[in-house]
Amino acid sequence: MPDQGTLEIRNVFKRFEVAGRTVEALSGIDLSVAPGEFVSVVGASGCGKSTLLRLIVGLDRDYDGEILLDGRRLAGPTLDRAIVFQEHRLFPWLRVEDNVALGLLKSALPAPEKRKLVREHLELVGLSAFAGAYPAQLSGGMSQRVAIARALVNRPDILLLDEPFGALDALTRAYLQAELRRIVRSEGITAVLVTHDVEEAIFLGDRIVVMHPRPGRIAEILPVDAASGQDRASTSFAHLRETVLTGLGAGHPALPGRLAA
């Protein structure tokens, strides 16, 4: 019996039809994520990293290969996987607490227990005072924290993050990255983060998966040792950033022929 939250991706291929032509979005993806591990996936736009998350969460079921959670093949969305999108995607007509409670609608827990969980998770993201506010009354950073609470409230085994802080200003982003790290560590959740921000990937990840585009594939997987991930100002952090950027092919413009595909 494996631990809760073991994600295995085996030889996954994903193809799209675009204007009559077949585009290979993902090609032979193999990746194992251990329980409690935080994996960052980095890559340029179009490398299929968001597509990979959509396959894992179950929004897209049309692929070849296998995606297993705790040894079971995934078929469609279930509450053991949660996702935070780049946009907060809160329901504008629901108050903050009701938006978080959406994550518990399908749960069989008794109502008082659900209310307690919502309260606890608003506390976790520091928004207890805004339980009764509407999304339009919140700043972008606050909205994204509500989205994180909504994703976590049902205690999923795996948290998927699709460029969750991409639309935020630099200060809010740094603050939320630290918050996310604290939350994920305290909850012991398995997480997969997709980002194009290399520093974010190093700061949050235990491992970094570097992807290349056309077709989307894994180029290399780099471990982050705990010490260098902690301190953005350290030389080891800078070294790792250089390694990842080199792995991404930064400074080597893509060939025109490849871009056209």
Partner: protein, 267 residues
């Protein structure tokens, strides 16, 4: 914590900046009333064709005093409300079904769109045959008038539920019912209210039309028919003023209901 900022409701400041402007819309009606009174007082127009304000007011008072006016207004309103209630109670589910089911949209949509081009008054002969010439026919006609705009707008609202929020519902594994009540209906609600407001206007017009074109009975339309037949223009003008006033009131009521139902939209 710099991220914690709360944006104040936008509506409040805007509403209080220029209170005087709110009365600008009343200038034209006031001028028209003065012109009307001036014309009838000066003898420029025949008093039988355009009775003075005083005559109309007097007529209103005497109709009110013998209790007829109250019966007429109550009959018209009751008819209007029953027709509107039936039309929108059928229109909302039909619109939701059309907007949420691609199959229905494809198979039923074109037929509905063709049928709605038929002017509502063209249905009167058919409705008279199907429902007779009594109260049932009038209410069926009013219901039909409300039904069309409610369906069209509910349909449009249900069709444009944001795909991004639909994915959230997918990921949270919401049931069909939860999806309908938490996502689809609230998302379509602003559109549904547009439909209801139009439906209210259309059904009020249809109420008068039904009373005017179908059998005579108590109602504002009946009152006007009687005025025309006996050449009591004061009665006709009284009817016109009542129609406008009540229509305006119904519209205000609908707007008020919308604001309270869509509280989240004010921020």
């Amino acid at each position: 914590m710099s991220a914690v900022t709360i944006i104040p409701p936008a509506g409040e400041a805007a509403a209080t900046t220029e209170p005087k402007r709110r009365w600008n819309g009343l200038i034209l009606p006031a001028v028209l009333i003065l012109l009307w009174e001036g014309a009838s007082q000066s003898g420029l127009v025949d008093d039988r064709l355009l009775p003075s304000l005083g005559t109309v007011a007097g007529r209103g008072w005497s109709e009110l005093a013998d209790g007829r006016l109250a019966v007429d207004i109550a009959s018209s309103l009751a008819r209007d409300v029953s027709g509107f209630a039936i039309g929108s109670a059928l229109g909302i589910p039909v619109g939701l079904a059309l907007g949420l089911s691609r199959t229905l949209d494809r198979f039923v949509g074109p037929t509905f769109n063709a049928a709605k081009q038929i002017a509502v008054f063209a249905w009167i002969p058919l409705i008279s045959v199907w429902f007779g010439v009594g109260e049932a026919a009038k209410i069926a006609f009013i219901a039909l008038a409300a039904f069309t705009p409610v369906v069209v707008n509910t349909w449009a609202g249900a069709r444009s539920v944001p795909r991004t929020l639909g994915e959230v519902a997918d990921v949270l594994a919401l049931s069909r019912w939860q999806r309908l009540t938490r996502l689809e209906i609230p998302s379509a609600l602003p559109s549904i209210f547009v439909g209801l407001q139009l439906g209210l206007i259309y059904s009020w017009l249809a109420t008068v039309g039904a009373e005017y074109f179908m059998t005579i009975g108590p109602g504002i339309g009946g009152l006007m028919t009687e005025g025309r037949e006996h050449f009591h223009m004061d009665l006709v003008i009284l009817g016109v003023l009542l129609l406008g006033g009540i229509g305006l009131g119904l519209n205000k009521l609908a707007a008020l209901m919308e604001t309270s139902a869509l509280r989240w939209k004010r921020y």
